[in-house]
């Protein structure tokens, strides 16, 4: 299999799954290339991300990168979170096969989208 163990772990045991009913912002993005979807909820207090949860319908790489990125967000300042790049996410998960690199754009797009108003 072309996926790293870490990625498979995040796919099989995704962290931060769910919805935040009283979220301060929610964003839904879809991947223009393959149609995968991610929805991201955040609670932001004084420029600080207190909580984040996600749901996604997509391939293993999309789910793993979404989960990993959501976990990363928690405890971050909004200014720093905006700087998260897809390359960072991919690298932290041990890389992706070339044909799956596009999957990581879902998480980085969702982060940018959900933090727009802060």
């Amino acid at each position: 299999m072309a996926y790293s163990e870490k990625l498979l772990d995040y796919f099989q045991n995704p962290r931060c799954v769910g919805e935040i009913p009283d979220a301060h912002a929610v964003a839904e993005v879809s991947n223009p290339v393959c149609g995968d979807v991610m929805k991201l909820w955040v609670k932001v207090v004084n420029g600080h991300i207190q909580d984040a949860k996600f749901k996604a319908q997509g391939c293993s790489a999309a789910i793993a990168t979404s989960s990993f990125a959501t976990e990363m967000l928690i405890g971050m300042d909004v200014v720093d979170a905006r700087r998260i790049t897809r390359e960072q996410i991919v690298e932290a998960l041990g890389g992706l096969p070339a044909s799956k690199i596009h999957c990581s754009v879902l998480a980085s797009d969702a982060i940018k989208e959900v933090l727009k108003g802060f």
Binding site: Y3, Q12, V37, C59, S99
Partner: protein, 374 residues
């Protein structure tokens, strides 16, 4: 590969390694083995041995058939009729010819997954030189009305090619009854080795060879023959012919058991091609609110190897052209899974899938922002 196939091949590597074109005794030994294999492949589709061109596989067979006719008939015309659900070996070959100035009619298929013979008749033109419609589809297993199309082609005096890679050895094939002029076959689809295949070329068919060289295969396909592969293919063909009656009904039962089991344990599940005649060994299902690549990886981690028509798993990032052609949306195609069964599949294998897949689907659905339990 079947053990009997490997056993038939081994002596070709160790003892009968002669070049089948050589006139010395061990070359002739190899030739005799190859002739026997050719005979067996011919018998599987009710052809004459002299009408079987042995080559490297289904892709080469499709290329030789389509390009061979396109070249030999270009003085008559440059119009080719094919369908939207062909294997890439036909699809991309026709697209390539399109770029070279040939005109291609891409026939639609019904939601059932079938080409309508009337559409073939309507598409015919005075400059039509070839009709190419697959016998059975590789993704959803639907069996096309080849006999009816064959009749239309015969009446119109147009060459007719059918890609039989999926159907050969799975259902009875009689090239005379089907009225095909060209019929592609592949060895590894019937438990033979990879790297071998055949094209049935009806006696009298004018075909320009794609490969030039030493004039092997009655000048249809130059190049020293892959004797071991061919011998394995022959043995696989012999066993497959016997298995049509003894094994395929059992495979069909297993497939039905799989679909019944999955239907009763997974909601929002669809079986593609279920209302059409289908190969006994193919099952293509779609589950809503889950994505195919994730399903494939999850099943793989549990030791089950399947494939999907999801865009996310294909190198091209396009959803399955077959599922799109039968009217599915890219979103629906996203959740497709294809199971390929064989005589080596067991009841235990099926029951294992029926046990593990519902949990996998449920887990992925729980992650979906759209899923609401029905």
């Amino acid at each position: 590969m079947r053990p009997e196939v490997l056993a038939a091949m081994m002596p070709v590597f160790t003892e009968h390694f002669g070049n089948a074109s050589s006139i010395h005794w061990f070359g002739q030994q190899a030739k005799a083995l190859m002739d026997q294999a050719r005979q067996r492949v011919a018998r599987l589709v009710n052809a004459e041995a002299s009408e079987i061109v042995l080559l490297s596989g289904g892709t080469e067979a499709d290329n030789l058939a389509i390009r061979g006719i396109a070249e030999s008939q270009k003085a008559k015309g440059r119009h080719i009729i094919t369908s939207r659900i062909e294997h890439h070996a036909v699809l991309h070959t026709c697209k390539d010819l399109e770029k070279q100035g040939y005109e291609i009619t891409w026939l639609p298929v019904s939601r059932k997954g079938l080409v309508e013979p009337d559409d073939v008749r309507t598409a015919l033109r005075p400059d039509t030189i070839l009709i190419s419609v697959m016998h059975a589809n590789n993704e959803i297993g639907t069996i096309q009305p080849i006999e009816e199309i064959g009749k239309i082609a015969e009446d119109a005096d147009v060459y007719f090619h059918s890609d039989g890679v999926q159907s050969t050895g799975k259902i009875p094939v009689d090239v005379r009854k089907l009225k095909v002029d060209l019929y592609s076959m592949s060895s590894h689809k019937i438990h033979g080795p990879k790297g071998a295949g055949a094209l049935f070329v009806k006696k009298g068919t004018i075909l320009k060879p794609a490969m030039t060289g030493g004039g092997h295969e009655r000048n249809r396909r130059s190049g020293t023959e892959n004797v071991a592969g061919i011998v394995g293919f022959g043995e696989a063909a012999r066993i497959a012919l016997e298995g049509l009656e003894t094994e395929m009904p059992w495979v069909r039962q297993l497939r039905d058991r799989l679909e019944a089991g999955l239907r009763s344990s997974i909601e929002f599940l669809h079986v593609n091609g279920e209302n059409a005649p289908r190969l006994p060994n193919t099952s293509n299902i779609m589950v809503d609110y889950a994505e195919g690549e994730g399903l494939v990886i999850s099943l793989d981690l549990k030791g089950v190897a399947v494939s999907t028509g999801s865009a996310c798993s294909s190198g091209s990032l396009e959803p399955s052209h077959v599922l799109i052609a039968i009217g599915k949306t890219p979103d629906e195609a996203h959740g497709s899974l294809r199971f390929s069964l064989s005589s080596m599949t067991t009841e235990e294998d099926i029951d294992y899938v029926v046990t593990v897949l519902p949990g996998i689907v449920e887990r992925l659905r729980e992650l979906s922002p759209y899923y609401k339990r029905g």
